[in-house]
Amino acid sequence: MTEKEAHITVRDLTMAYGDFVLMRDLTFTINRGDIFIIMGGSGCGKSTMMTILIGLKAPAKGKVFYGDVDFWGADPQTRDRIIRRAGVMYQGGALWSSMTLAENIALPLETYTDLSPSQIREVVKLKLALVGMAGFEEFYPSEISGGMQKRAGIARAMALDPEVLFFDEPSAGLDPVSARRLDDLILQLRESLGTTMVVVTHELASIFAIGDNSVFLDVSKRTMTATGNPNQLLAETRDPNLRLFLTRGEKS
């Protein structure tokens, strides 16, 4: 078996809000082309971890490497260049409410490419078709359902053909069928594009269905206690907190 290439490496990282240390000593690697799950209970700092990975919040200590580039040690221009190759789907989709779906997806293309308006229209159409929403170009976010907003959020995140896609709680607030469809979509996109996917979630069904690799942030110990394939972790772990989390609190 060939060794996978490291895409993002987190080393000795500490997350803090002022003097309050949320998590410390975090070290893990996200391989290129993997679906990597950041999991843990409510308040453990999963979303904060994502904000650090996408450059919105600096870590209190430690390093994040994209390939071999020290992300937080690099100058702002380098950071911008790296983050432009990433797409982010926020929890509620975070679509700009005053713009149509087409305009939402077109904005990054208009900002960062030299494509003509007709080419942008074609790309917008393609991205919406990829998430199963062809024909919804002229709709405003308020006119579509929560699940559709999330899918449109993915279409926007994919606008610039990113190398890595981040998902913050993709299935939160969705019914089981829609959540499953979204999981399938993530799997299909990874399979077709080979994009690295980083998913922040505590939804067990999603974790087991799509995760190639994962890290477990233990809120009681304020650090990570496990990393590996979620199904394998469930089978092998002896950590009572991780077992409790992966079995939904059921006693073994």
């Binding site: 005053s98 490419t113 393609l126 002229e138 594009l193």
Partner: protein
């Protein structure tokens, strides 16, 4: 180096066209379009199959996919079979994913322009609807005030205190600045004219009466419409977006009493006090001009102002302030409560609140002026 994609077309048999794709098929690069294939197909009407050879394709992204999507549309229109076997496996899967859900053509919204008459009709209907909603809101507010007078209104006195502080003490700096400058401007304009007749001393009368009777109340009202009315609309609009107002309703608490009433009371009570303060600031502004430009002593200026400004003027000014306070609060709260459920709707609500309040202030000023004239005061 610019990404560059190339396409060569071959016809291995009479009914098959082969597209040989090579180079970098990436967005932003120089890529051939589906129109070239269309031109070739027009010249070769016997073609029923389209096949691909991508052995020389170096790299690809959405640039290739948009080309293939356009090609797909072209082929389905001309009844030509598009064979995806020769495409890179990733592109095949993505194409299958994109075409898995058919385009929802009936989902597209109508973009057609309204005719002039339809537009006038629709706006007239909207206007009457808006007047109806305004009257309904006003009625609800009156009912809430009546319940307050009977001691039955549900609101938190602590909220009232906080809102009173926010709309009075915290507004003092901006009211000071605006009213001082208005007094100054009035005195400047008056001084130039009155100097011609040697009647400089009457600058104090002009500034005093104008400020106390009308200008202080109007300027404070407009400042409060922008500062507080907009804030009320944004607060209540955000509560609407977050379903906080729905939560109040389901608990059986009237949003009109819990949210609107304290805001209306706070502004109605504080506006007259702000008007008194604005009067002083305006007169001080006039006094600065009187002393520095017209050589009037402060005592002279004060005496002339006290002589000119009667209690009726003060009463009318304070009453106007009270009315403007109610208008600003009602406009802000009404637009906030009518807010839609998106971020842009909150912005629209705030804008609309300011516009409604200013229009209301000007209209009520006209009514009060006509009434005063009618009553001879």
């Amino acid at each position: 180096m610019t990404a560059h994609g190339e396409m060569i077309m071959e016809q291995p048999s009479a009914d098959t066209l082969k597209l040989i794709l090579s180079g970098h098929w990436k967005l932003g690069g120089d890529l051939p379009g589906a129109d070239k294939v269309q031109q070739t197909l027009q010249n070769k009407p016997g073609v029923r199959n389209l096949v691909f050879d991508t052995g020389e394709l170096a790299s690809w992204d959405s640039g290739l996919l948009t080309f293939l999507m356009n090609l797909g549309t072209l082929c389905s229109r001309q009844n030509i079979r598009l064979n995806r076997d020769g495409l890179p496996p990733g592109a095949q899967k993505l194409l299958a994913l994109a075409l898995a859900v058919p385009e929802k053509t009936d989902a597209r919204q109508a973009e057609g322009r309204m005719s002039f008459l339809t537009s006038v009709g629709s706006q007239t209907v909207d206007l009457f609807q808006s007047i109806g909603e305004m009257l309904e809101f006003l009625g609800d507010a009156v009912v809430a005030v009546l319940r307050l007078l009977r001691g039955k209104a549900q609101y938190r006195p602590a909220d009232l205190g906080l809102i009173m502080q926010a709309v009075s003490a915290q507004a003092l700096p901006i009211v000071s600045l605006i009213c001082f400058l208005v007094g100054l401007i009035l005195a400047f304009i008056g001084a130039i004219q009155l100097k011609l007749f040697g009647a400089q001393i009457y600058v104090a009368d002009l500034v005093g009466i104008a400020m106390v009777r009308l200008m202080a109340a109007i300027m404070t009202g407009i400042v409060m419409a922008g500062r507080t009315g907009g804030a009320f609309a944004a607060q209540l609009g955000t509560m609407q977006v977050n379903q906080e107002i729905d939560a109040l309703k389901t608990l059986g608490i009237s949003p009109m009493e819990f949210l609107v009433l304290p805001r209306m009371l706070a502004l109605a009570l504080m506006m007259p006090l702000l008007c008194i303060y604005a009067n002083i600031m305006g007169i001080l502004g006039g006094m600065v001009v009187g002393i520095s430009m017209l050589n009037i002593s402060p005592i002279e200026y004060y005496n002339e102002t006290a002589k000119a400004v009667g209690l009726w003027n003060l009463g009318i000014g304070l009453f106007s302030g009270f009315v403007f306070g109610v208008i600003v609060a009602l406009a802000g709260c009404m637009r906030g409560m009518q807010c839609g459920r998106s971020a842009s709707a909150v912005g629209d609500a705030a804008t609309s609140a300011v516009v409604t309040a200013i229009v209301g202030i000007i209209l009520s000023t006209a009514v009060i002026t006509v009434l005063c004239n009618f009553l001879g005061i």
